[in-house]
Amino acid sequence: MPDPLFGLGLRKDHYRDFLETDVPVDFVEVISENFMIDGGRPRAILRQVRERHPVALHGVSMSIGSADGLDRAYLHRLKALADEIDPLFVSDHLSWSRFRGFSSHDLLPLPYTRETLDLVCANIAVAQDVLGRAMLVENPSSYVTFGRSTMTEWEFLDAMCARSGCGLLLDINNIFVSATNHGFDPVAYIDAVPADRVRQVHLAGHSQGRDMLIDTHDQPVPPPVWALYAHAMTRLGPVATMIERDDAIPPLGHLLAELDQARAIGSPDRMAA
Protein backbone atom coordinates (compact mmCIF):
# COMPACT_ATOMS: atom_id res chain seq x y z
CA MET A 1 0.00 0.00 0.00
CA PRO A 2 1.46 3.41 -0.95
CA ASP A 3 2.17 5.95 1.76
CA PRO A 4 -0.79 8.25 2.46
CA LEU A 5 -0.08 11.46 0.64
CA PHE A 6 -2.85 14.05 0.88
CA GLY A 7 -4.85 14.83 3.99
CA LEU A 8 -6.92 17.37 5.90
CA GLY A 9 -7.20 18.43 9.50
CA LEU A 10 -10.21 16.88 11.21
CA ARG A 11 -12.19 19.75 12.73
CA LYS A 12 -15.53 19.78 14.58
CA ASP A 13 -17.33 21.49 11.70
CA HIS A 14 -16.60 18.50 9.50
CA TYR A 15 -17.22 15.61 11.93
CA ARG A 16 -20.49 14.75 10.23
CA ASP A 17 -18.87 14.74 6.78
CA PHE A 18 -16.18 12.33 7.93
CA LEU A 19 -18.63 10.05 9.75
CA GLU A 20 -21.32 9.90 7.09
CA THR A 21 -19.51 10.23 3.77
CA ASP A 22 -16.46 8.83 2.08
CA VAL A 23 -14.24 11.90 2.16
CA PRO A 24 -11.51 11.60 -0.50
CA VAL A 25 -8.45 12.04 1.68
CA ASP A 26 -5.53 9.72 2.29
CA PHE A 27 -5.27 10.65 5.97
CA VAL A 28 -6.55 13.08 8.56
CA GLU A 29 -4.61 15.03 11.14
CA VAL A 30 -6.01 15.90 14.56
CA ILE A 31 -4.84 18.21 17.31
CA SER A 32 -3.63 15.65 19.85
CA GLU A 33 -4.67 17.64 22.92
CA ASN A 34 -8.31 17.77 21.79
CA PHE A 35 -8.44 14.01 22.22
CA MET A 36 -6.21 13.57 25.28
CA ILE A 37 -9.34 13.42 27.40
CA ASP A 38 -10.88 10.72 29.54
CA GLY A 39 -13.82 9.88 27.28
CA GLY A 40 -16.96 11.19 25.65
CA ARG A 41 -17.98 12.02 22.12
CA PRO A 42 -14.66 13.39 20.79
CA ARG A 43 -12.82 10.14 21.55
CA ALA A 44 -15.69 8.09 20.10
CA ILE A 45 -15.61 10.13 16.90
CA LEU A 46 -11.87 9.75 16.58
CA ARG A 47 -12.19 5.98 16.92
CA GLN A 48 -14.84 5.94 14.19
CA VAL A 49 -12.81 8.13 11.84
CA ARG A 50 -9.74 5.97 12.49
CA GLU A 51 -11.65 2.98 11.11
CA ARG A 52 -11.76 4.78 7.74
CA HIS A 53 -8.57 6.82 7.62
CA PRO A 54 -5.00 6.83 8.93
CA VAL A 55 -4.66 9.54 11.58
CA ALA A 56 -1.71 11.83 12.29
CA LEU A 57 -1.46 13.23 15.83
CA HIS A 58 -0.30 16.84 15.82
CA GLY A 59 0.37 18.40 19.21
CA VAL A 60 0.65 21.98 20.39
CA SER A 61 1.53 21.53 24.07
CA MET A 62 4.58 19.29 24.35
CA SER A 63 6.77 22.38 24.73
CA ILE A 64 9.86 20.73 23.30
CA GLY A 65 11.93 23.82 24.01
CA SER A 66 11.05 24.20 27.71
CA ALA A 67 14.24 24.88 29.68
CA ASP A 68 12.81 22.98 32.65
CA GLY A 69 12.02 19.82 30.71
CA LEU A 70 8.87 18.05 29.59
CA ASP A 71 5.66 17.35 31.48
CA ARG A 72 5.68 13.58 32.10
CA ALA A 73 1.93 13.44 32.74
CA TYR A 74 1.39 15.06 29.34
CA LEU A 75 3.68 12.56 27.65
CA HIS A 76 1.93 9.58 29.20
CA ARG A 77 -1.47 10.88 28.13
CA LEU A 78 -0.15 11.33 24.60
CA LYS A 79 1.32 7.85 24.63
CA ALA A 80 -2.02 6.38 25.68
CA LEU A 81 -3.73 8.14 22.78
CA ALA A 82 -1.03 7.10 20.33
CA ASP A 83 -1.19 3.50 21.47
CA GLU A 84 -4.93 3.47 20.86
CA ILE A 85 -4.88 5.28 17.51
CA ASP A 86 -1.68 3.82 16.02
CA PRO A 87 -0.99 7.13 14.29
CA LEU A 88 0.67 7.78 11.00
CA PHE A 89 2.83 10.43 12.69
CA VAL A 90 3.19 12.07 16.09
CA SER A 91 4.35 15.65 15.78
CA ASP A 92 4.77 18.88 17.71
CA HIS A 93 6.57 22.18 17.26
CA LEU A 94 10.07 23.54 17.63
CA SER A 95 8.95 26.02 20.26
CA TRP A 96 8.12 26.27 23.94
CA SER A 97 4.93 27.15 25.76
CA ARG A 98 5.51 26.20 29.38
CA PHE A 99 8.06 27.21 31.99
CA ARG A 100 8.01 26.77 35.78
CA GLY A 101 4.30 26.28 36.11
CA PHE A 102 3.27 28.96 33.64
CA SER A 103 1.63 27.75 30.43
CA SER A 104 1.25 30.30 27.64
CA HIS A 105 -0.68 28.04 25.26
CA ASP A 106 1.26 29.65 22.43
CA LEU A 107 4.16 28.45 20.31
CA LEU A 108 6.91 30.71 21.60
CA PRO A 109 10.25 31.19 19.81
CA LEU A 110 13.65 29.85 20.74
CA PRO A 111 17.13 31.29 20.23
CA TYR A 112 19.07 28.98 17.96
CA THR A 113 22.14 28.33 20.08
CA ARG A 114 24.17 25.31 21.14
CA GLU A 115 22.47 25.44 24.56
CA THR A 116 19.03 25.29 22.93
CA LEU A 117 20.10 22.47 20.62
CA ASP A 118 21.33 20.42 23.57
CA LEU A 119 18.12 21.02 25.46
CA VAL A 120 15.74 20.39 22.55
CA CYS A 121 17.53 17.17 21.61
CA ALA A 122 17.43 15.97 25.23
CA ASN A 123 13.70 16.72 25.42
CA ILE A 124 13.02 14.98 22.11
CA ALA A 125 14.93 11.94 23.39
CA VAL A 126 12.72 11.83 26.49
CA ALA A 127 9.57 12.19 24.40
CA GLN A 128 10.59 9.53 21.89
CA ASP A 129 11.54 7.21 24.73
CA VAL A 130 8.17 7.56 26.46
CA LEU A 131 6.20 7.40 23.22
CA GLY A 132 8.23 4.49 21.88
CA ARG A 133 8.34 6.02 18.43
CA ALA A 134 10.15 8.71 16.47
CA MET A 135 8.56 12.14 16.39
CA LEU A 136 8.21 14.77 13.73
CA VAL A 137 9.10 18.32 14.73
CA GLU A 138 7.57 21.27 12.91
CA ASN A 139 9.33 24.51 12.06
CA PRO A 140 7.50 27.40 13.75
CA SER A 141 6.35 30.75 12.47
CA SER A 142 7.78 33.53 14.59
CA TYR A 143 7.58 37.24 15.34
CA VAL A 144 10.81 37.60 17.30
CA THR A 145 14.39 36.59 16.57
CA PHE A 146 17.25 36.58 19.04
CA GLY A 147 20.50 38.41 18.52
CA ARG A 148 22.22 35.67 20.49
CA SER A 149 21.31 32.97 17.94
CA THR A 150 24.42 31.38 16.50
CA MET A 151 22.77 29.42 13.71
CA THR A 152 19.89 29.83 11.28
CA GLU A 153 16.64 27.98 11.80
CA TRP A 154 17.42 25.57 8.97
CA GLU A 155 20.88 24.87 10.37
CA PHE A 156 19.25 24.20 13.73
CA LEU A 157 16.70 21.81 12.16
CA ASP A 158 19.47 19.94 10.36
CA ALA A 159 21.52 19.52 13.55
CA MET A 160 18.42 18.61 15.59
CA CYS A 161 17.38 15.85 13.18
CA ALA A 162 20.88 14.45 12.91
CA ARG A 163 21.35 14.26 16.65
CA SER A 164 17.87 13.26 17.87
CA GLY A 165 16.75 11.03 15.01
CA CYS A 166 13.47 12.90 14.73
CA GLY A 167 11.80 13.68 11.42
CA LEU A 168 10.58 17.02 10.14
CA LEU A 169 7.11 18.34 9.57
CA LEU A 170 7.84 21.19 7.19
CA ASP A 171 5.24 23.96 7.34
CA ILE A 172 5.58 25.91 4.12
CA ASN A 173 3.37 28.74 5.33
CA ASN A 174 5.46 29.09 8.49
CA ILE A 175 8.58 29.44 6.37
CA PHE A 176 6.91 32.14 4.29
CA VAL A 177 5.59 34.00 7.36
CA SER A 178 8.93 33.94 9.19
CA ALA A 179 10.90 34.79 6.05
CA THR A 180 8.69 37.83 5.45
CA ASN A 181 8.80 38.91 9.09
CA HIS A 182 12.53 38.47 9.53
CA GLY A 183 13.84 39.13 6.03
CA PHE A 184 15.40 35.85 4.97
CA ASP A 185 15.03 33.96 1.68
CA PRO A 186 12.37 31.21 1.99
CA VAL A 187 13.76 29.38 -1.04
CA ALA A 188 17.20 29.23 0.54
CA TYR A 189 15.56 27.82 3.69
CA ILE A 190 13.81 25.06 1.73
CA ASP A 191 16.98 24.31 -0.21
CA ALA A 192 18.89 23.85 3.04
CA VAL A 193 16.60 21.69 5.16
CA PRO A 194 17.55 18.00 5.34
CA ALA A 195 15.15 16.72 2.66
CA ASP A 196 15.54 13.10 3.67
CA ARG A 197 14.11 13.94 7.12
CA VAL A 198 10.90 15.59 5.88
CA ARG A 199 7.99 13.19 6.43
CA GLN A 200 5.09 15.60 6.25
CA VAL A 201 4.24 19.04 4.89
CA HIS A 202 1.71 21.57 6.16
CA LEU A 203 0.02 24.14 3.93
CA ALA A 204 -1.96 27.00 5.44
CA GLY A 205 -2.88 30.64 5.13
CA HIS A 206 -1.96 33.71 7.14
CA SER A 207 -3.11 37.28 7.71
CA GLN A 208 -1.41 40.63 7.39
CA GLY A 209 -0.98 42.20 10.82
CA ARG A 210 -0.06 45.82 11.41
CA ASP A 211 3.67 45.16 11.32
CA MET A 212 4.08 41.51 10.44
CA LEU A 213 2.40 38.51 8.87
CA ILE A 214 0.42 36.55 11.45
CA ASP A 215 0.12 32.77 11.24
CA THR A 216 -3.65 32.67 11.65
CA HIS A 217 -4.65 29.54 9.69
CA ASP A 218 -7.92 31.30 8.88
CA GLN A 219 -7.38 31.88 5.16
CA PRO A 220 -6.96 29.76 2.04
CA VAL A 221 -3.40 28.87 1.09
CA PRO A 222 -2.16 32.01 -0.74
CA PRO A 223 -0.30 32.04 -4.09
CA PRO A 224 3.21 32.66 -2.64
CA VAL A 225 2.82 29.63 -0.37
CA TRP A 226 1.67 27.48 -3.30
CA ALA A 227 4.75 28.64 -5.22
CA LEU A 228 7.02 27.72 -2.34
CA TYR A 229 5.29 24.34 -2.06
CA ALA A 230 5.91 23.69 -5.73
CA HIS A 231 9.58 24.50 -5.22
CA ALA A 232 9.74 22.33 -2.11
CA MET A 233 8.28 19.38 -3.98
CA THR A 234 11.11 19.49 -6.50
CA ARG A 235 13.49 18.85 -3.58
CA LEU A 236 11.45 16.70 -1.24
CA GLY A 237 9.74 14.36 -3.69
CA PRO A 238 6.37 12.83 -2.79
CA VAL A 239 5.62 13.56 0.85
CA ALA A 240 2.47 13.51 2.98
CA THR A 241 0.84 16.92 2.59
CA MET A 242 -2.12 18.39 4.43
CA ILE A 243 -4.14 21.59 4.44
CA GLU A 244 -4.16 23.03 7.95
CA ARG A 245 -7.17 25.24 8.68
CA ASP A 246 -7.95 26.12 12.30
CA ASP A 247 -10.22 29.15 12.17
CA ALA A 248 -12.94 30.55 9.90
CA ILE A 249 -13.49 26.93 8.87
CA PRO A 250 -15.12 26.77 5.42
CA PRO A 251 -17.32 23.96 4.06
CA LEU A 252 -15.36 20.78 3.51
CA GLY A 253 -15.61 21.15 -0.27
CA HIS A 254 -13.47 24.30 -0.14
CA LEU A 255 -10.69 22.45 1.65
CA LEU A 256 -10.96 19.47 -0.70
CA ALA A 257 -10.53 21.87 -3.63
CA GLU A 258 -7.36 23.18 -2.00
CA LEU A 259 -6.20 19.62 -1.48
CA ASP A 260 -6.77 18.95 -5.18
CA GLN A 261 -4.51 21.90 -5.89
CA ALA A 262 -1.85 20.30 -3.69
CA ARG A 263 -2.32 17.00 -5.55
CA ALA A 264 -1.86 18.80 -8.87
CA ILE A 265 1.51 20.00 -7.64
CA GLY A 266 2.76 17.21 -5.43
CA SER A 267 1.36 13.92 -6.76
CA PRO A 268 4.07 11.44 -7.68
CA ASP A 269 2.72 11.05 -11.23
CA ARG A 270 2.68 14.83 -11.71
CA MET A 271 6.19 15.12 -10.38
CA ALA A 272 7.43 12.35 -12.65
CA ALA A 273 5.88 14.00 -15.73
Binding site: G40, Y74, R98, F102, D106, P111, E115
Partner: protein
Protein backbone atom coordinates in the same frame (compact mmCIF):
# COMPACT_ATOMS: atom_id res chain seq x y z
CA UNK B 1 21.72 35.03 29.16
CA UNK B 2 20.57 31.45 29.55
CA UNK B 3 17.53 29.92 27.88
CA UNK B 4 15.89 29.61 31.30
CA UNK B 5 16.28 33.34 31.92
CA UNK B 6 14.89 34.16 28.46
CA UNK B 7 11.86 31.99 29.15
CA UNK B 8 11.43 33.53 32.58
CA UNK B 9 11.43 37.00 31.01
CA UNK B 10 9.03 35.91 28.28
CA UNK B 11 6.59 34.61 30.90
CA UNK B 12 6.89 37.86 32.87
CA UNK B 13 6.12 39.83 29.74
CA UNK B 14 3.11 37.73 28.80
CA UNK B 15 1.58 37.46 32.25
CA UNK B 16 2.49 40.84 33.76
CA UNK B 17 3.55 43.08 30.84
CA UNK B 18 6.92 43.43 32.57
CA UNK B 19 8.69 46.00 30.35
CA UNK B 20 12.12 45.35 31.91
CA UNK B 21 11.75 41.66 31.08
CA UNK B 22 10.73 42.52 27.51
CA UNK B 23 13.77 44.77 27.15
CA UNK B 24 16.09 41.95 28.15
CA UNK B 25 14.70 39.59 25.50
CA UNK B 26 16.24 41.59 22.70
CA UNK B 27 16.63 44.92 20.98
CA UNK B 28 13.90 45.58 18.44
CA UNK B 29 11.77 42.73 19.72
CA UNK B 30 8.96 45.00 20.88
CA UNK B 31 6.64 44.63 17.86
CA UNK B 32 6.95 40.88 17.88
CA UNK B 33 6.52 40.64 21.63
CA UNK B 34 3.33 42.68 21.35
CA UNK B 35 1.98 40.08 18.92
CA UNK B 36 2.76 37.25 21.32
CA UNK B 37 1.11 39.08 24.20
CA UNK B 38 -1.96 39.84 22.12
CA UNK B 39 -2.16 36.18 21.07
CA UNK B 40 -1.80 35.07 24.70
CA UNK B 41 -4.58 37.27 26.05
CA UNK B 42 -6.89 36.89 23.04
CA UNK B 43 -6.68 33.12 23.25
CA UNK B 44 -7.54 33.08 26.95
CA UNK B 45 -10.45 35.48 26.47
CA UNK B 46 -11.75 33.32 23.60
CA UNK B 47 -11.35 30.22 25.76
CA UNK B 48 -13.39 31.74 28.60
CA UNK B 49 -16.01 33.15 26.24
CA UNK B 50 -16.53 29.77 24.61
CA UNK B 51 -16.61 27.95 27.95
CA UNK B 52 -19.07 30.36 29.59
CA UNK B 53 -21.49 31.04 26.79
CA UNK B 54 -24.52 31.50 29.11
CA UNK B 55 -22.66 33.64 31.62
CA UNK B 56 -21.53 35.82 28.72
CA UNK B 57 -25.11 36.19 27.56
CA UNK B 58 -26.37 36.77 31.12
CA UNK B 59 -24.00 39.52 32.27
CA UNK B 60 -23.26 41.06 28.86
CA UNK B 61 -20.16 41.62 26.77
CA UNK B 62 -18.58 44.48 28.73
CA UNK B 63 -18.99 42.90 32.15
CA UNK B 64 -17.79 39.54 30.84
CA UNK B 65 -14.67 40.98 29.22
CA UNK B 66 -13.85 42.91 32.40
CA UNK B 67 -14.22 39.75 34.46
CA UNK B 68 -12.12 37.78 31.96
CA UNK B 69 -9.36 40.41 32.05
CA UNK B 70 -9.34 40.35 35.85
CA UNK B 71 -9.15 36.56 35.83
CA UNK B 72 -6.32 36.45 33.29
CA UNK B 73 -4.33 39.01 35.29
CA UNK B 74 -4.84 37.18 38.57
CA UNK B 75 -4.74 33.58 37.36
CA UNK B 76 -2.26 32.74 34.59
CA UNK B 77 -2.77 29.30 33.05
CA UNK B 78 -0.74 26.47 34.49
CA UNK B 79 -2.01 23.27 32.88
CA UNK B 80 -0.86 21.82 29.56
CA UNK B 81 -4.38 21.81 28.21
CA UNK B 82 -6.30 25.00 27.58
CA UNK B 83 -9.44 23.06 28.48
CA UNK B 84 -8.34 23.22 32.13
CA UNK B 85 -8.17 27.01 32.20
CA UNK B 86 -11.89 27.90 32.43
CA UNK B 87 -12.47 25.96 35.68
CA UNK B 88 -11.00 28.71 37.88
CA UNK B 89 -13.27 31.37 36.41
CA UNK B 90 -16.19 30.17 38.54
CA UNK B 91 -14.43 31.36 41.69
CA UNK B 92 -13.42 34.65 40.04
CA UNK B 93 -17.03 35.38 39.05
CA UNK B 94 -18.30 34.45 42.51
CA UNK B 95 -15.77 36.84 44.05
CA UNK B 96 -16.56 39.63 41.60
CA UNK B 97 -20.31 39.28 42.14
CA UNK B 98 -20.77 38.34 45.81
CA UNK B 99 -24.31 39.74 45.85
CA UNK B 100 -25.37 37.89 42.69
CA UNK B 101 -25.07 34.18 43.46
CA UNK B 102 -26.95 33.38 40.24
CA UNK B 103 -23.82 34.35 38.26
CA UNK B 104 -21.51 31.97 40.07
CA UNK B 105 -24.07 29.17 39.90
CA UNK B 106 -24.67 29.76 36.20
CA UNK B 107 -20.91 29.64 35.67
CA UNK B 108 -20.64 26.40 37.60
CA UNK B 109 -23.33 24.85 35.40
CA UNK B 110 -21.57 25.92 32.18
CA UNK B 111 -18.32 24.45 33.47
CA UNK B 112 -19.81 21.25 34.88
CA UNK B 113 -21.55 20.46 31.58
CA UNK B 114 -18.21 20.85 29.78
CA UNK B 115 -16.44 18.60 32.29
CA UNK B 116 -19.13 15.94 32.05
CA UNK B 117 -18.85 16.00 28.25
CA UNK B 118 -15.30 14.60 28.34
CA UNK B 119 -15.46 12.54 31.54
CA UNK B 120 -14.48 8.86 31.47
CA UNK B 121 -16.81 6.52 29.62
CA UNK B 122 -19.08 4.18 31.59
CA UNK B 123 -22.30 2.64 30.36
CA UNK B 124 -25.32 2.92 32.66
CA UNK B 125 -26.67 -0.34 34.03
CA UNK B 126 -29.77 -1.73 32.39
CA UNK B 127 -32.68 -3.28 34.21
CA UNK B 128 -31.62 -6.82 33.27
CA UNK B 129 -30.20 -8.66 36.23
CA UNK B 130 -31.29 -6.16 38.85
CA UNK B 131 -33.83 -8.65 40.17
CA UNK B 132 -30.99 -10.90 41.31
CA UNK B 133 -29.32 -8.16 43.36
CA UNK B 134 -29.14 -8.52 47.12
CA UNK B 135 -30.39 -4.99 47.70
CA UNK B 136 -29.64 -4.93 51.42
CA UNK B 137 -25.93 -5.34 50.61
CA UNK B 138 -25.91 -3.52 47.26
CA UNK B 139 -23.59 -0.52 46.81
CA UNK B 140 -24.39 1.83 43.94
CA UNK B 141 -21.60 3.11 41.70
CA UNK B 142 -22.32 6.31 39.82
CA UNK B 143 -21.28 7.68 36.45
CA UNK B 144 -17.77 9.23 36.55
CA UNK B 145 -19.34 12.22 34.80
CA UNK B 146 -21.69 12.97 37.72
CA UNK B 147 -21.14 16.35 39.39
CA UNK B 148 -23.29 17.95 42.06
CA UNK B 149 -23.48 21.34 43.71
CA UNK B 150 -25.87 23.01 46.11
CA UNK B 151 -27.61 26.06 44.68
CA UNK B 152 -29.65 28.90 46.12
CA UNK B 153 -30.91 30.54 42.92
CA UNK B 154 -32.87 29.79 39.77
CA UNK B 155 -29.62 29.54 37.76
CA UNK B 156 -30.84 26.30 36.13
CA UNK B 157 -33.94 28.03 34.74
CA UNK B 158 -31.83 30.95 33.55
CA UNK B 159 -29.42 28.56 31.82
CA UNK B 160 -32.26 26.76 30.05
CA UNK B 161 -33.88 29.96 28.84
CA UNK B 162 -30.57 31.33 27.54
CA UNK B 163 -29.83 28.06 25.74
CA UNK B 164 -33.18 28.10 24.01
CA UNK B 165 -32.78 31.76 23.01
CA UNK B 166 -35.75 32.56 25.20
CA UNK B 167 -36.18 35.40 27.63
CA UNK B 168 -34.53 34.34 30.88
CA UNK B 169 -36.40 34.86 34.13
CA UNK B 170 -35.13 37.45 36.57
CA UNK B 171 -32.62 36.11 39.04
CA UNK B 172 -34.33 34.88 42.17
CA UNK B 173 -33.60 32.84 45.26
CA UNK B 174 -35.24 29.43 45.38
CA UNK B 175 -37.91 28.82 48.00
CA UNK B 176 -35.83 25.88 49.20
CA UNK B 177 -32.11 25.36 48.52
CA UNK B 178 -31.58 22.59 46.00
CA UNK B 179 -28.79 20.60 44.40
CA UNK B 180 -27.84 20.75 40.75
CA UNK B 181 -26.89 17.41 39.19
CA UNK B 182 -24.85 17.27 35.97
CA UNK B 183 -23.89 14.12 34.08
CA UNK B 184 -23.46 12.71 30.59
CA UNK B 185 -25.75 10.25 28.88
CA UNK B 186 -25.26 8.99 25.32
CA UNK B 187 -22.52 11.57 24.65
CA UNK B 188 -24.76 14.44 25.73
CA UNK B 189 -24.30 16.42 28.95
CA UNK B 190 -27.51 16.97 30.89
CA UNK B 191 -28.66 18.36 34.22
CA UNK B 192 -31.58 18.60 36.59
CA UNK B 193 -32.20 19.85 40.08
CA UNK B 194 -32.62 17.57 43.07
CA UNK B 195 -34.40 18.44 46.30
CA UNK B 196 -32.69 18.27 49.67
CA UNK B 197 -33.92 14.76 50.40
CA UNK B 198 -32.60 13.35 47.11
CA UNK B 199 -29.32 15.18 47.57
CA UNK B 200 -28.90 13.68 51.05
CA UNK B 201 -29.58 10.17 49.75
CA UNK B 202 -27.24 10.72 46.80
CA UNK B 203 -24.44 11.91 49.08
CA UNK B 204 -24.79 8.79 51.20
CA UNK B 205 -24.97 6.53 48.15
CA UNK B 206 -21.89 8.10 46.53
CA UNK B 207 -20.04 7.66 49.82
CA UNK B 208 -20.56 3.90 49.42
CA UNK B 209 -23.41 3.32 51.85
CA UNK B 210 -25.25 0.00 51.37
CA UNK B 211 -28.70 0.33 49.83
CA UNK B 212 -30.16 -1.34 52.90
CA UNK B 213 -28.87 1.57 54.99
CA UNK B 214 -30.06 4.09 52.40
CA UNK B 215 -33.56 2.72 52.78
CA UNK B 216 -33.47 3.67 56.47
CA UNK B 217 -32.01 7.13 55.91
CA UNK B 218 -35.34 8.95 56.25
CA UNK B 219 -36.86 6.64 58.87
CA UNK B 220 -36.92 9.34 61.56
CA UNK B 221 -38.67 11.72 59.22
CA UNK B 222 -40.99 9.42 57.24
CA UNK B 223 -41.18 6.20 59.17
CA UNK B 224 -39.45 2.95 58.23
CA UNK B 225 -41.79 1.87 55.45
CA UNK B 226 -42.09 5.21 53.69
CA UNK B 227 -38.36 5.80 54.00
CA UNK B 228 -37.67 2.58 52.09
CA UNK B 229 -40.32 3.49 49.53
CA UNK B 230 -38.70 6.89 48.99
CA UNK B 231 -35.24 5.34 48.57
CA UNK B 232 -36.68 2.89 46.06
CA UNK B 233 -38.38 5.69 44.14
CA UNK B 234 -35.14 7.67 43.90
CA UNK B 235 -33.22 4.55 42.88
CA UNK B 236 -35.69 4.17 40.02
CA UNK B 237 -35.14 7.79 39.05
CA UNK B 238 -31.34 7.35 39.06
CA UNK B 239 -31.61 4.22 36.94
CA UNK B 240 -33.88 6.02 34.47
CA UNK B 241 -31.46 8.95 34.33
CA UNK B 242 -28.55 6.64 33.56
CA UNK B 243 -26.67 7.76 36.65
CA UNK B 244 -25.78 4.29 37.93
CA UNK B 245 -23.06 2.38 36.09
CA UNK B 246 -22.55 -0.56 38.45
CA UNK B 247 -24.17 -2.26 41.40
CA UNK B 248 -21.68 -3.93 43.73
CA UNK B 249 -22.21 -6.18 46.69
CA UNK B 250 -23.01 -9.83 46.69
CA UNK B 251 -23.23 -9.92 42.91
CA UNK B 252 -21.96 -7.08 40.70
CA UNK B 253 -24.20 -5.84 37.93
CA UNK B 254 -22.80 -3.75 35.07
Amino acid sequence: MSLALIQQDFCAWLARSDADAAGRIGKGAGRGLAIYQNNYRAQLVACLTEAYERVHAWIGEDAFLAAAAAHIDATPPTHWTLDAYPAGFVATLAALYPDDPDIGELAWLDQALAQAFVAADADPVGLDGLGAVDWDEAVLRFSPSLLARDIRTNAAAIWSALSESGTPPAAALLDEPATLLVWRLDHVSCFRTADRREARLLDAARAGERFGALCALFADELGVEDSATEAGRLLGQWLADGLIVRVDGGRSIR
